[in-house]
């Protein structure tokens, strides 16, 4: 646990550790996401449709960037 961003997953009732969860690394994507939301809101408040569209495009790009898969974080799928 001292070599990376890992944490325990535990059983729900007794909180016994039963798996290791690999957490994401530091990233700037959430900051850019909030900036794009700010741009959208600015466009909406001041009636600047073009700015709202720019913000929406930026929102899409930041969401895709943030959630683009990283193999090291792969969680088991069922």
């Amino acid at each position: 646990l001292d070599k990376g961003r890992d944490t325990f997953g535990t059983t729900p009732l007794d909180a016994e550790p039963d798996e290791i969860l690999r957490m994401p690394e530091d990233t700037m994507w959430p900051f850019f996401l909030s900036l794009s939301i700010l741009v959208i809101c600015y466009g909406l408040v001041f009636g600047l449709a073009w700015l709202g569209i720019v913000g929406a495009v930026a929102l899409f790009v930041t969401i895709v960037g943030w959630f683009w898969p990283r193999p090291a974080l792969a969680v088991g799928e069922v």
Binding site: L21, V75, G76, E77
Partner: protein
């Protein structure tokens, strides 16, 4: 306390449980379903309280909306085909199925835009107009988001990210698309068919 002699090894990100991402999509769908439930409740409530005919200008035309509904139903079929394809390990079925779904979804939005342009009332005309455009507009927005989702998953599919064992994003995209389709069936029945029979 675990010592070197009795230390045990824990699995890293094991695969035995439903992925949290799957649960996230289920909860998103539940939330959005409630949104449409409230909107349709408002539609039927205001309709029941109206002193004038509801809809005010008579039942809406079905000429465009019936084929459009069929287009959306077929798109659910192609999405199912794509998802079942990757479950069987077929990259080609996944890619082609999702592409067809994308094209059919775009066609649905285009036809809905054409239908909007032919309406003789606007959102601010009356309560019916407000509800009609809000409900169908919200649904159209959900279709648009589903198409964006589809585009990203399509891109990942062409990059070879998915396998028969790992394709959660495809499952989530399919779940969302089927939800959008089911909502449209309810909206279509409520806003288009019911006025014709009542």
């Amino acid at each position: 306390m675990a010592t070197a002699s009795n230390a045990y090894v824990l699995p890293i990100n094991p695969a035995e449980r439903r992925n949290p991402g799957w649960w996230a999509m289920v909860l998103i769908i539940a939330t959005e379903a409630m949104l449409f439930a409230y909107l349709l409740f408002a539609y039927f409530y205001l309709g029941s309280m109206a002193n004038t005919p509801w809809p005010p200008s008579g039942p809406p035309e079905l000429k465009l909306v019936v084929p459009n509904t069929i287009v959306l139903l077929v798109s659910s079929g192609t999405m199912w085909w794509a998802e079942s394809g990757i479950r069987a390990g077929s990259q080609l079925r996944l890619r082609i199925g999702m592409l067809l779904t994308l094209l059919l979804g775009i066609a649905f939005l285009v036809v809905q835009g054409i239908e909007y342009s032919k309406k003789d009332f606007a959102m601010q005309s009356n309560a019916y107009g407000s509800l009609f455009f809000t409900i169908t507009g919200f649904h159209g927005a959900h279709v648009f988001v589903g198409l964006l989702f589809n585009v990203v998953v399509e891109l990942r599919a062409w990059l070879g990210h998915f396998t028969a064992e790992r394709h959660l994003a495809v499952t989530n995209a399919a779940m969302y698309w089927h939800f959008v389709d089911i909502v449209w069936l309810v909206v279509f029945t409520s806003l288009y068919l019911v006025p014709h029979v009542m």
